[in-house]
């Protein structure tokens, strides 16, 4: 048994890879509709936003923290950016995404100030900032949804792009959204930062033990600010991309999404105690969660079960990680 625990400790993504394969095979056997390219492509497309947000949560979790403010940050960045674009009659792609990421970055730095200087538990800090930001957007900026007729056309066009398409058995075309490439690009960037830079090693070190990281010479303050800043920027980026992909900017959107994203990251093998977790594991975790929750319908399961399923996934994944890390805590 301890051999299995060791293997899981060394390769956290093994567990989630196994779960994903089993889930895909089971769902595909029960309902072959699953294998249609249009279904597979839409699953990949559906994992883009959750996936980018999961990269943000992974960064925070690697350092031993947890973030529940990112859906609010994402919505704030999206809504403010789209509002500004409409007000300034501006249409484009690069600048709006820069603006959304900057808004997210600034909000993330607020989290960092509270976590680093005021030494408060990240969960409670981000609960506070998340609620305050959401309250600000809905109470001060506005509550009305911006629909497709007002959305900046270039932004929509960008998110509609497809880079690959196949003809299905019934003659219809199924295209794979280019946003999958954007997600992959961000994931590779985060992976490279984590694996091949001093900064990335510092993030793991910080999660392993803050005092130890400080003693070996890591600048823990800078690392904390980079983690929360980068997480905020990723959230802001994902927020605007989400708005562009669903053609609406709704300030009430993404409520409760934090649970799905945290579930995906934990499922991907990241430890909430920090220092353990990989980008590839997280991406597999996201894909697994998206495949399972989105397949309930084609499995004939009532969608009211979705929350129970997500909750069960969180519990199962955390129980396994707790068992894996048991030696470490004891």
């Amino acid at each position: 048994m301890s051999g299995l625990a060791n293997a899981l400790r060394r390769h956290p993504e093994l567990m989630v890879a196994a779960v994903l394969v089993i889930a895909v095979l089971a769902i595909g056997t029960i309902n072959p509709v699953f294998w249609q390219p249009s279904n597979l492509f839409s699953l990949l497309r559906a994992s883009v936003i959750t996936g980018i947000l999961a990269l943000a949560v992974l960064l925070v979790m690697l350092s031993g923290g947890i973030d529940v403010s990112f859906p609010a940050f994402a919505i704030a960045a999206m809504y403010l950016t789209v509002k500004a674009m409409i007000a300034w009659q501006f249409d484009g792609v690069l600048l709006p995404f820069l603006m959304a990421s900057s808004i997210g970055l600034a909000l993330g730095l607020v989290n960092a100030v509270f976590v680093h200087y005021l030494r408060m538990i990240p969960l409670i800090v981000t609960l506070g900032t998340g609620t305050a930001v959401r309250g600000f957007i809905l109470g001060v900026v506005g509550t009305s949804q911006i629909n497709i007729d007002q959305m900046p056309p270039l932004l929509i066009a960008f998110a509609r792009g497809e880079f690959f398409s196949v003809t299905q058995a019934d003659g219809s075309q199924a295209g794979l959204s280019s946003m999958v490439l954007v997600y992959a690009g961000l994931a590779i960037a985060v992976h490279l930062i984590l694996r091949h830079t001093m900064l990335g090693r510092g993030i793991y070190a910080l999660g392993g033990g803050e005092e130890a990281a400080r003693r070996v010479g890591f600048n823990t303050r800078r690392i904390t600010f980079v983690i929360y800043g980068l997480a905020g920027a990723l959230a802001g980026f994902a927020g605007l991309l989400h708005g562009a992909m669903i053609w609406t900017a709704n300030p009430r959107d993404m409520v409760g999404l934090e649970l799905d994203v945290i579930a995906a990251v934990v499922l991907g093998g990241a430890s909430i105690f920090g220092g353990r977790g990989t980008v590839i594991g997280t991406m597999l975790g996201v894909l697994t969660l998206v495949v399972i929750t989105n397949s309930l319908i084609i499995l004939g399961v009532d969608t009211t079960w979705q929350r129970v399923v997500v909750g069960a996934i969180v519990i199962a994944a955390t129980a396994v990680t707790a068992w894996r890390d048991r030696k470490r805590i004891a």
Binding site: M120, A132, V133, F136, V310
Partner: protein, 330 residues
């Protein structure tokens, strides 16, 4: 006199600060709109609304005493009263006099169902946290999803409307002119205060929160104590659910979602240390009064609920900052 001052300063600076905060908020609101704020109706309505939130805050504090947190309290509260409501609808009638005039024994059975739900749900959390060593944040996020998910599966979404009249008395009735929920709150809070400060169990909880390892070496049965603390949290949450459904005459899977942040806020503001080891029932009561005065004042001034959320979130961050400064000056 000087010894009294010293005692006040030494043992309970936090309580003193809370008293000052409460007086300041009261004076501020009274000065801002004297003719609308200083009316008996305002304070009377607080005595009906505050207790359910106060019980959730006490529940949160109990979980925080051992350095944990319970994010499933809202799910437990809703599941408890939905199960009781469905019981009433099946043994009585979905509506009409048969439901309203349900005899006392059946209503007591319903209360038993609600409390048992809280105890079982709390025991599940306790098992995950104490026995399986799952981090409280993730364990209770997961179980919270499952509890809310079960609510959704049972009801399909819409509220369970209509409770027996006796049940409603717990939320709407009065005892000698005092709001019944307030009486329930005082009794339950007094009981929790007694258990926490006057029994071995309560002292052990605080010790475990202060230093879990030392508690193990001192021979305390930490697993059992932590387990029981989550059972207590669950039971408290179900009482809050009874009050909430009694007051509104309905139970729904997404009632009281904003209570989660407010319960955490009250617990933190009351001087509870989320890292464990510190927290008191009188502190919770004072923080509850302060925040209820604040939110009623804001509602009288016609602040939207979103703005109130913004202020709650800001208040949480402010109280974190103040707590940090206090720690530093020590």
């Amino acid at each position: 006199m000087s010894t009294l001052l010293q005692r006040l300063r030494g043992s309970d600076t936090n309580l003193l600060q809370l008293v000052i905060l409460t007086v300041l908020i009261f004076a501020g609101m009274a000065a801002l709109n004297p003719e609308r704020f200083l009316r008996p109706y305002v304070f009377e309505s607080i005595t009906f609304i505050a207790p359910e939130l106060g019980l959730l805050a006490i529940a949160m504090m109990v979980a925080m005493l051992t350095g944990g947190i319970d994010l499933s309290v809202i799910g437990i509260a809703n599941l408890s009263c939905i199960l009781a409501g469905l019981f009433f609808h099946s043994v009585g009638a979905p509506r009409g006099p048969e439901l309203v005039n349900m005899p006392l024994p059946l209503v007591l059975a319903g209360i038993g169902i609600a409390l048992a739900t809280g105890v079982i749900a709390g025991a599940i959390n306790g098992l995950l946290v104490a026995k399986m060593r799952v981090t409280p944040i993730l364990a209770t996020i997961g179980t919270g999803q499952i509890f809310t998910g079960i609510c959704l599966v049972l009801t399909g979404g819409p509220a369970v409307v209509g409770f027996p009249a006796i049940w409603g008395q717990f939320g709407n009735g009065t005892v000698f002119g005092i709001a019944a929920p307030l009486v329930v709150f005082v009794v339950v809070a007094g009981l929790v205060w007694f258990v926490l400060s006057r029994t071995a169990f309560g002292i052990n909880l605080t010790l475990i929160g202060t230093n879990p390892r030392a508690a193990v070496f001192a021979g305390l049965r930490t697993q059992r104590t932590v387990f029981l603390s989550y059972v207590m949290t669950g039971a408290l949450a179900s009482v809050a659910g009874i009050l909430l459904s009694g007051r509104t005459n309905a139970a729904k899977s997404d009632y009281g979602v904003s209570y989660l942040l407010q319960a955490v806020l009250i617990a933190v503001l009351a001087g509870t240390n989320p890292a464990g080891g510190r927290g008191s029932v009188p502190g919770i009561a004072l923080a509850l009064v302060a925040l209820m005065l604040l939110s009623s004042g804001l509602q009288i001034m016609r602040f939207s609920n979103f703005l109130v959320d913004l202020i709650w979130g800001g208040f949480l961050l402010l109280s974190i900052a103040l707590a940090a400064l206090r720690m530093r000056s020590r």
